[in-house]
Amino acid sequence: MLSRALRRPRRLLHSSPSPRHNPSQPPQSTIDATEVSHFAALASTWWDPHGSSRLLHLMNPLRVRWLNECLAESHPHLFNTTSHNTSSTTSPTTPSTSASPSPSASPSASGSIGAESRPSEGNAEGNTKGLKVLDIGCGAGIFTESAARLPHITHVTGLDATPAVLTAALAHARLDPTLTPSRLTYLSGGIETHPIPPGGYDIVSVFEVLEHVSRPASFLEAVERMVKPGGWVVGSTIARTWTSWVITKVVAEEVLGVVPRGTHEWGKEKGGKPTRFWNVLRLMRLWWGWGACPYAERVALSFDAGVRSTGVEAPR
């Protein structure tokens, strides 16, 4: 069976085995300095469930479900009922190898959550190596943490340009002993300077990032280089429609005050060249009206998109 992406008339997002940018030239950053300072100010309230990021918290399960749907297509074996028994956690005694500021060989807490039932790794075939995720614009780690807890994901790297939010992210990850550095690492910086691991990432996520970068087109080119052939770029951005402008800009920022002013720079959503990205949507969804939240959250709109890299046929 042809992968869905191969049946598309236009395949724009390839992962390229050979990086297209010249390594001798310093890559130009797509980071927007005003955005960085804006998010630094948000860092302390990021994890407050009733703070200004509440919307992101409530959207997050939809994101993860979306990622799971994409993976169920490319890696169906991960979603066999047997693979559910795979522990979502890891033993804290796993040696720490990461750049986390608080590396430690073994936490003092003696038990290991979920680890007792952790079956031999790879009880579902193909699960042996697990999937690696790069979460670009991870903020204080709302999506990053939840991805790191998924049983079929072995490691997540959270990347963000704002050091202050990473401090918040690391502080929050300390609250969950399963989020050891062997599962979750945070790095400060931009995508352009981020080293591509051998083979690339299985999943690169860009949730609510595109509308905040200064040159979306070159940003997306850098994203493409990170993903493995057959891997996924998943992301979402605010819909570039007048309805979404009214809702996110006017309703969210001005009327309801749920999001601090200036969080959404409309020019960036409208301008730039994100069209290229959106033309290759595998599937576009419009979310609205999710149930559990009060009035203000009911009107938010966002597009979720998953793009399957088509460099090579998906591993079967």
Binding site: N60, R65, N68, N85, A109, G111, I113, S117, A148, R174
Partner: protein, 471 residues
């Protein structure tokens, strides 16, 4: 005679499941807590059902679970003599039964001791206006189950699924915060010290520890309500005949409702809400006199019933005489009481309580720890099962989307699903109790009118029945 209860000989249940050596109770030696995803305090119907639900759900079965129960539940239950029934029985609604079926607990019940009933007759003690519930089909209104039958079934299910670290008998002696180390900050993790010396830290602490919930006190969640100044007198009875079809009887006396619920064969369980003074009088009676009072409670007028409670003995003759002078239809009555099971007469104080919320960070309350309801609608245990079904669902959703199951962001969905529904049910039971305690003439007239009207109105009755069945 009912079939002989079959207590399958069992291995001692609830032994801790074997786990890798490095995970074993290092806490007791080092003082550092052992970490769990879910620690459940209380192994009653709610707590056991929650753990069984988590173990049987494929997306939560890998979670590391602990159960702490004050009573010793590691011993196999004592065999029960044939025809002998526990006085703690509950009516399980079809929706509770469906949930228990889904998690695999229903098949573990000793079915010979479970009695479904398809008919229900409810009437007013002062006016004898009645409402009869005869379902169009033969589908049960509810199933009468001994609480021990249910908890034993859930225990064997948990044993066969394995993986629940059980501390029993063990009491929670202290709940505090977890340690902070250079790598981890467990200060938000409830950390329990047990009477056995063990220390456990919980990603999510469940209070399934009954009406006096120590977990609720630890969380500082206020629980509001009132005492009814009434007690529930319970007893296991043998009636003069087996009723067909199986029917639940309930009569609203001014002192509170009296209910006789069918068990297999000629057996029945009594729940009689009454004043503490009358309960004390009833409990002091011989079996014969007690049985006569129960017969009277369904057949005689309020004045006669009042008089019977002034006598310290001799109710048998008194009731026999007064029955002859009272107009009632024996066909509408439960069969008369033939014997009261020795030692089965007991009394529980009745109260209404509802916690302000069911959650706080890394903590959730289920069952009686969250709410205590007047037993007149037989809903207490069922509300707990509905709580558990909702919470397992919420936890399972969170696990499959990578959420932290202890965070209030995850748990608030549980409150959203259950608090309002429970509050409505608590309110209905409370209002019914108050309405039927009234002796004021016009109110009695109105409520009788109401009961007669409801009896005539098929759709309204259908609605009430569905509510009672938890559907």
């Amino acid at each position: 005679m009912p079939p002989r209860p079959q207590w399958r000989p069992k291995r001692p249940i609830f032994l801790r499941t074997p786990c890798p050596r490095h995970l074993r109770f290092t806490s007791t030696t080092t003082g550092a807590p052992e970490l769990f995803d879910v620690v459940c305090v209380g192994g009653g119907p709610a707590g056991l059902s929650l753990l069984a639900g988590l173990r049987s759900n494929p997306s939560t079965s890998h979670l590391k679970l602990a159960l702490i129960e004050a009573q010793d539940i590691t011993q196999p239950p004592r065999p029960v003599a044939p025809g002998s029934y526990s006085n703690r029985c509950s009516s399980l609604t079809p929706s509770s039964a469906a949930y228990l079926q889904r998690i695999g607990a229903w098949s573990q019940l000793d079915r010979s001791r479970v009695q479904p009933y398809t008919h229900m007759r409810v009437w007013d003690g002062l006016s004898s206006a009645a409402i009869t519930f005869d379902p169009p089909s033969t589908s049960p209104i509810a199933y009468m189950v001994e609480n021990t039958n249910l908890t034993t079934a859930l225990s064997s299910l948990i044993t066969s699924l394995g993986g629940v670290h059980t501390f029993s008998p063990a009491r929670v002696s202290h709940i505090g915060h977890g340690p902070t180390t250079p790598t981890h900050d467990l200060s938000s993790w409830p950390t329990l010290s047990l009477s056995t010396g063990a220390t456990l830290s919980a990603r999510l602490l469940i209070g399934a520890d009954g009406a006096a919930s120590p977990v609720r006190s630890y969380a500082g969640i206020p629980s509001r309500g009132w005492d009814y100044g009434r007690v529930g007198v319970v007893a296991s009875l043998r009636l003069s005949s087996d009723s067909a079809p199986k029917t639940a009887f309930q009569r609203f006396l001014t002192t509170g409702p009296v209910a006789l619920l069918p068990l297999p064969g000629p057996y029945a369980t009594l729940v009689w809400s009454t004043t503490p003074e009358r309960a004390a009088r009833l409990r002091g009676l011989s079996g014969e006199d007690f049985g006569a009072c129960v017969d009277a409670a369904f057949r005689l007028g309020m004045v006669d019933i009042d008089y019977l409670h002034t006598m310290s003995r001799g109710q048998v003759e008194e009731v026999a005489w007064r029955k002859k002078h009272t107009a009632y239809s024996e066909a509408d009555m439960p069969a008369s009481v033939e014997a009261v099971q020795d030692g089965s007469v007991a009394a529980f104080p009745l109260k209404m309580r509802h916690a302000d919320t069911y959650i706080s960070n890394r903590l959730a309350l289920v069952g009686d720890a969250a709410h205590t309801v007047h037993p007149l609608a037989g809903q207490g245990l069922n509300l707990g099962q509905a709580d558990v079904a909702a919470l397992v669902d919420v936890i399972s959703d969170a696990v499959s989307t990578g959420g932290d199951i202890g965070s209030t962001l995850v748990l608030e969905e549980y409150v959203a699903r259950r608090w309002g529904a429970n509050h409505a049910m608590l309110g209905v039971c409370d209002k019914l109790h108050k309405l039927y305690s009234a002796e004021w003439g016009p109110l009695v007239g109105l409520r009788s009118l109401g009961l007669r009207a409801v009896d005539k109105l098929g759709p309204v009755k259908g609605f009430l029945m569905r509510q009672a069945a938890g559907m």
